[in-house]
């Protein structure tokens, strides 16, 4: 059966700038916003946009991601025809190869795409927090009679040189592409989300694959080649919430923005555009008589007896009486014992912060780091973790780490 458009979701990235958080899992599987993982956003966008076939390209540490996706049921992507498929690199008669670049990952799965014989393919990135209606993007692509479209965001001119930029004329037709230029000619940053006509994409993937000097990357190779050939390329303006959560600071910031939907623009409470996730199956959370909870998000399985301010607690977090949590992102299954002070930091899953330990500090003029504790770590009683610390191993009682 033919599909009008299927999605290919690039989820193989290591997310090396998230350091301790992505040692054991791929970046798209990093927990976000109290009960989600990053990949929930593109997957939910797909299903809310009417896309029912998604290939997820995995490579780096795929275990957590594979288990999380399962048969795709939480996103309503368990379909008889189509649905969600995890696509790791595989061995072929001609040999086997890791995915060498973003374009190569798609190229190695041409046969997957051909099973559905789509008219269009949308390429998505598994490391962005964004609520976007891809059907509106497709409408634009069709209206322009485009062969390739890219979603772009207007960014401040002074930051423009950090991005891949699209220079477009008044009809939104792309005339030039600049990758992180010193002198930007445009402030339209590529979001890394593309719609291709499938015949065009296939042609360019195969040509690119035959080029031994290519890095097999969309930004560096495919898009410049399309431009060179004068293909019909258009820039689709997106002005909703979009955040690349590639760094500890941006991940922390995006989580904090969830707490302020009125101003930040990331509203998880939107009934018309739900973000789906795999359910933890835990009971409702408890706020005890000794607790003080303000300006926070709390989910199933949490037990709070201490003070929680401006923080996000994931499923099953325990905050004991006398503990203080402020400006913090505390991932699932973590316990914060009595008297511990946890501020301005990201604590990964299943961490124990013992009595009177201090983790992180509120930012000052000199120091505004986000302390990070990797999953499964135990922070000893009375230990002190500085605001720039990146803790990967257990910290003994009373020790300090900066």
């Amino acid at each position: 059966m033919e599909k009008e458009m299927i999605a290919m979701l690039l989820a193989g990235g290591q997310g090396s700038r998230l350091y301790a958080l992505t040692e054991k899992l791929a970046k798209p599987a990093v927990p976000f916003g109290g009960k989600y993982r990053i990949i929930d956003f593109p997957l939910s966008n797909c299903v809310n946009s009417g896309i029912d076939t998604v290939g997820i390209l995995t490579q780096y540490q795929p275990l957590v991601l594979n288990e999380y996706i399962g048969n795709g049921q939480p996103w309503d992507l368990d379909r008889l025809h189509g649905g969600v498929h995890v696509l790791p690199p595989y061995q072929k008669a001609s040999g086997s190869d890791w995915y060498k670049g973003t374009a190569n990952a798609i190229c190695q799965n041409i046969s997957f795409i051909e099973r559905y014989n789509p008219k269009y393919v949308i390429i998505l990135s598994g490391d962005q927090i964004c609520k976007q209606d891809y059907s509106d993007f497709l409408r634009f692509h069709k209206e322009k009679d485009a062969e390739f479209s890219v979603a772009v965001m207007e960014v401040p001119w002074e930051e423009a040189s950090r991005f891949g930029l699209m220079v477009a004329d008044e009809t939104d037709r792309i005339t030039e592409f600049q990758e992180k230029p010193k002198e930007p000619k445009s402030n339209l940053a590529s979001m890394g989300i593309y719609i291709f006509n499938w015949d065009i994409l296939k042609k360019y993937l195969l040509e690119d694959d035959a080029d031994p000097n290519s890095q097999n990357d969309f930004g560096n190779n495919i898009i410049p080649n399309l431009l060179k050939d004068g293909r019909r390329m258009y820039a689709y303006h997106f002005d909703g919430y979009w955040k690349d959560v590639g760094t500890i600071n941006s991940l922390w910031e995006a989580n904090m923005e969830v707490l302020d939907p009125e101003h930040s623009g990331i509203d998880l409470f939107d009934e018309n555009w739900k973000i789906y996730s795999r359910n933890s199956g835990m009971a409702g959370h408890h706020i005890s008589a000794t607790a003080d909870v303000t300006n926070s998000m709390i989910t199933d399985g949490c037990k709070v007896s201490g003070t929680v301010k401006h923080s996000i607690l994931f499923d099953g977090v325990i905050v004991e009486e006398g503990a203080v949590v402020e400006d913090a992102v505390i991932m699932g299954g973590t316990t914060i014992r009595s008297g511990a002070i946890v501020k301005h930091c990201i604590i990964a899953e299943n961490v124990t912060i013992n009595e009177k330990a201090i983790v992180g500090a509120m930012p000052t003029a000199e120091e505004n780091g986000v302390a990070t504790v990797a999953s499964g770590v135990s922070i000893g009683a009375g230990a002190k973790i500085g605001p720039n610390a990146m803790v990967r191993n257990n910290v003994k009682d009373g020790e300090e780490e900066w």
């Binding site: 998880l268 973000i275 199956g281 408890h286 005890s288 909870v293 300006n295 998000m297 989910t299 199933d300």
Partner: protein
């Protein structure tokens, strides 16, 4: 069968004791009454069975079962969407010779072919007015070891003052047990009013399937209605009926007051831990976002599900999914079901609001501890 699966099938009667809580069941069955902030009563029995390796479960409904059907769907959330067995909802269809049942024997007689054709050795019969985290595999093992014809699961508790004996209808029999030193049931009392701790039947029975088929066939011929009154009681000397004491946490709903009290009891962390720690209780997933507490929230002693937005003061409350409490509202000792809205500057005490209730701004709505006020589904106050 592989040892992870129990050699038993489950049969649940979702409408038992409906008439004890007429307010709560006006649009639903006992089994689909919302309980403990994100569950329905039946979730506890279904999850207990599934966690014990039972994956062939039939629900014999009598009436008001639309909300139950909606809740259960294909049974997938309980891992019961199976090719073999799985979840089987049996509605009371109209057919000559088949009528809407009164007692369990009649219900079982309606499903005799199912009982005859199943492969499991044992049958578990249960009502749905109890929330507990039960290891049925332990009970089945004990039943097997004891060589009993029937095992009755009971709990020892002081329920004096809890049962409402002013209701004399035969739908609402309760049973207390007298056991000998080998746990054999010697006497079974209907609606006994003895004070102090008693062995109260939880109305959960483990029976050899073929033995049950024989009893139901016999009962159908003789026009018997109630399993306990008409089969067990007269035969305590003929059959080996053993008691199995369930020592875990039991929440029991047999009046609107007990509904209020059993929800409130879970605000004590040790009670909630006793009910939920151990095996997971599954329920229909609603994909709500986490609950949000704003800077004006003041919250003490609350159990809440996802999807709530709390801007006001909340004390001693159980909040179901999607409850909104606006700024300046003061809500104490309330049970607010799904999507209840308490608007700004309203005071609410001792309320049970059903789904989608809205209490408008600047109101004062109060029940009392002994008689919590119930507000019906979708009502705007």
């Amino acid at each position: 069968m592989v040892s992870s699966n129990a050699n038993a099938m489950g049969i649940i009667f979702p409408n038992s004791y409906d008439t004890l809580v007429p307010e709560l069941v006006s649009k639903r069955a006992m089994a689909s009454i919302p309980f403990a902030s994100r569950y329905r009563m039946i979730d506890f029995l279904l999850s207990s069975m599934v966690n014990s390796g039972i994956d062939n479960i039939s629900i014999v409904v009598r009436q008001n079962y639309r909300s139950l059907m909606d809740h259960l769907g294909s049974g997938r959330e309980w891992d019961l969407s199976r090719k073999n067995g799985g979840l089987n909802i049996i509605p009371p269809f109209s057919e000559r010779g088949i009528k809407v049942y009164t007692g369990h024997l009649e219900a079982l007689s309606n499903i005799l072919p199912l009982l005859r054709n199943s492969k499991e050795k044992y049958v578990i019969l249960t009502d749905a007015h109890i929330a507990a985290n039960i290891r049925f595999d332990d009970i089945i093992a004990e039943h097997e070891k004891s060589g009993a014809d029937v095992t009755v699961v009971y709990h020892n508790a002081d329920l004096s003052g809890r049962n409402d004996y002013t209701r004399k209808d035969t739908d609402n029999f309760t049973y207390t047990l007298q056991l000998d030193e080998e746990n054999r049931v010697k006497e079974m009392h209907i609606n006994a009013q003895d004070l102090g701790p008693q062995n109260h039947s939880m109305n959960i029975y483990i029976i050899d399937r073929e033995f049950l088929v024989t009893q139901v066939e016999d009962a159908t011929v003789r026009g018997k209605i109630y399993f306990e009154r008409d089969v067990l009681l007269p035969n305590l000397n003929n059959f080996v009926v053993k008691g199995y004491e369930f020592k875990g946490y039991v929440a029991l709903i047999n009046s609107i007051k007990s509904y209020f009290d059993e929800n409130m009891a879970l605000l004590k962390q040790e009670n909630a831990d006793a009910l939920f720690e151990g095996n997971s209780i599954y329920t229909k997933v609603r994909d709500d976002n986490p609950t949000r507490y704003t800077s004006t929230a003041k919250v003490k002693n609350v159990m809440a599900a996802d999807g709530c937005v709390i801007e006001g003061t909340v004390e001693n409350c159980v909040l179901f999914r999607g409850v909104k409490i606006a700024k300046g509202a003061v809500v104490k000792n309330c049970i607010l079901m799904q999507d209840t809205v308490i608007a700004e500057n309203t005071t609410a005490e001792y309320l049970i609001t059903d789904k989608n209730v809205t209490v408008t701004a600047y109101q004062e709505v109060k029940g009392t501890a002994s008689y919590p006020m119930y507000i019906t589904k979708k009502r705007v106050v």
